[in-house]
Subunit: 246 residues, 2 copies
Amino acid sequence: MTAQPLSVTIDRSSPVPLYHQLAQQLSAAISSGVLQPGDPFENETALAQRLRLSRPTVRRAIGELVDHGLLVRRRGLGTTVASRKVHRRAELTSLFDDLQRSGRTPQTTVLSMETTTDERAAAALDLPAGTPLLAVVRLRTADGSPLAVLHNWLPPALSDLTETELAIRGLYALLRERGVKPVVARQSIGARMPTATERKHLKIRGSQPLLTMSRMAFDAQGGGIEFGDHAYRSDGYTINLMIDER
Amino acid sequence: MTAQPLSVTIDRSSPVPLYHQLAQQLSAAISSGVLQPGDPFENETALAQRLRLSRPTVRRAIGELVDHGLLVRRRGLGTTVASRKVHRRAELTSLFDDLQRSGRTPQTTVLSMETTTDERAAAALDLPAGTPLLAVVRLRTADGSPLAVLHNWLPPALSDLTETELAIRGLYALLRERGVKPVVARQSIGARMPTATERKHLKIRGSQPLLTMSRMAFDAQGGGIEFGDHAYRSDGYTINLMIDER
DNA sequence: ACTGTGCATATGTCAGTACATAGCGTTGAC
DNA sequence: GTCAACGCTATGTACTGACATATGCACAGT
């Protein structure tokens, strides 16, 4: 059996592009389970005719979903819903968001917060070495047990953050509220033994290693937004990510 | 000063699509430095006219580079070369390729290679628990010093790999030669202390932690290709990656 | 029963055109 | 002298039309 008609409504008076309206509704149909993985798709020309859209427009909508891994196109065969395993999720999130999504209750203690100069951070942010930066050190706990020590350096433009804000929300949520959108980041992940103060904050024995992640985040124009140097308890956390070449 | 003409040659008899020919040559011009970050770009209509291509074709080529972060489009203003910091590189590569690109000489020793069953690997590959899998354990060295112990499980369809092949090439290069293309992977990165055998193979002291990465790779259809469980010396290796939401 | 040819199908590529809209500079009115 | 309105430019969206080509299946010939 194939294609029940799959109701889609297009609003031509809306400012949102037609291809995007279609893409969103198809995406919703897939993630809501109306369309199951493996299901054959109505073909491009038929879909275009039924919705009174041109084929390029329909094609662009489908292309958007293919880019996100929701659909698979095979020439000569048709387009099918992809296996759920290759569906792509947002990747550039903060630890705070991750924990919250997984049902745990993250908490933050601001250990220190000062304006200083730091050579390594300034270089990463592409600023002169003497530039005063806002340096924040936070302790992140989940359900009461300590999880990570987070060091962050922010450029002068973002130094109006307050300690209470940082204690309540994640850093990335605060940035987004200020209209600052990180779109690219370079991360470097490693492992090492903890220092004495790290052992104390994270309540671990000396024989237990740390997972470290340093991250430099940029906006679309390549401007530096944030430099972070973080240390996680290796028994309570693994870094999960999905990478793809499409 | 703007736009020196920027010579591009289009071969209409070639089987490779026109938009891709153009994209490749623009990409080359950018990474070779002929076009510098911030340089304004010849506009779409002019470029189309000069190369005797239609605007959609030119637009698609430019769009490809925008997706890769090489160009930034701003409507009303024009298209400019993006800051080098947001240029995106391929992400789904093997350790072997990475080492080779960075000028080091990777070597591989096959420690063991057998067909067995493994519950965890079978589950990850989405196969019945009893399915016989090819289990390979390799020691990877760079410039003579040991770097990582690599465990891999491959589905029956790929169990015709030989020990000599694995000693010479990287796993991903071998897979690509067989027409198997991994496009998505889930990775999980952590840290732990080494076992006795790991200490021996990697020639490290007991106090030095390992960086661990387990990876499940899929093809475009969502079929499982490879399950890996790797342990790296934390002093000789960090995992670098770039993530973006574009 | 087996094999290869050809056809129908659906996506892939490309051209040409038209109009909408965001940014920016300039002009012109007050 | 200040500021709003206008117009230019380049990208953004959308349509029509055409031909190329990979894939699977049915059918015909052996």
